[in-house]
Amino acid sequence: MRVLLPHPLLSAGLLVMWLLMNQTLQPGPALVGALVALLGGWALALLRPGRSRLRRPGTILRLAGQVAVDVVRSNIGVAKVILLRRPDRRSGFIRVRLTLRDPQALAVLAVILTATPGTAWLEFDAGEGWLLLHVLDLIDEADWTRIIRDHYERPLLEIFR
């Protein structure tokens, strides 16, 4: 099983993607999709990305929900900043020290922070885990640090273990 399907989640994702793109469940396209899924899994295995196991599906769902809510809030916040032009608004750089080291988990964190309009990921120092961010509406640096640690880093540490 390990040899045939080295990355089962990736292969399943590729198959679902293929079926969605073809918008069918006919055996022909499904067979081609299965082949694409198998080849994709092998190709990734050749790249040796390292194995990280995903745990706690409940935490994954809760994280996804949290991100959906935070991105709505951030959309409204950034739209307000652009449309209302508050004179006292301050943007700036913040640094957050992370304990997260798993490359896949860091990639997910980067996607979350970039998808959130109010924050932009700039640089990560892998040695000591310092993350440099730019924040559009910097009210309180400690507040942002708390959001990143509690909302995203803690669940990611539980999921990628």
Binding site: A79, I82, R95, L122, L136
Partner: protein
């Protein structure tokens, strides 16, 4: 759209509202590119369009085409997924390029490294 009249009203109204909301959000993001002052601030603006701006338009598309074809049309989900996964690549590249340029020019506003200077040694 010549088939718009065939849609039932209870579906046409939410779809139209979602389209307007999505387009409005994308427009706000574009406006941000004009209004915000520094490069780093402008990095934030287009993300409105690539998050819920895109999400609302795609949801409207799912509603309309599912109703017209009489079956769930879901491949818009893939567009959303690929946009969300690929945007960070561009934005991080742009952000880091700007950071590199500003550090070379010795801009005092820009932090020198991700690790703070006063951090205790590891």
């Amino acid at each position: 759209m010549s088939h718009a009249a065939e849609l039932p009203i209870w579906l046409a109204v939410p779809a139209a509202l979602l389209l307007l909301l999505g387009a409005g959000l994308a427009l706000t993001g574009a406006l941000g590119l004009l209004r915000l002052r520094t490069f780093y601030e402008r990095l934030h603006a287009p993300t409105i369009g690539t998050s819920y701006g895109m999400g609302c338009v795609l949801l409207a598309s799912v509603l309309v085409f599912s109703a017209r074809q009489g079956r769930p049309v879901l491949h818009e989900v893939l567009i959303g997924l690929f946009v969300v996964v690929t945007t960070p690549v561009t934005l991080m590249l742009l952000g880091r390029a700007a950071l590199h340029r500003d550090r070379l020019e010795g801009d005092p506003e820009v932090p020198g490294a991700a690790r703070p200077d006063d951090a205790p040694p590891a």
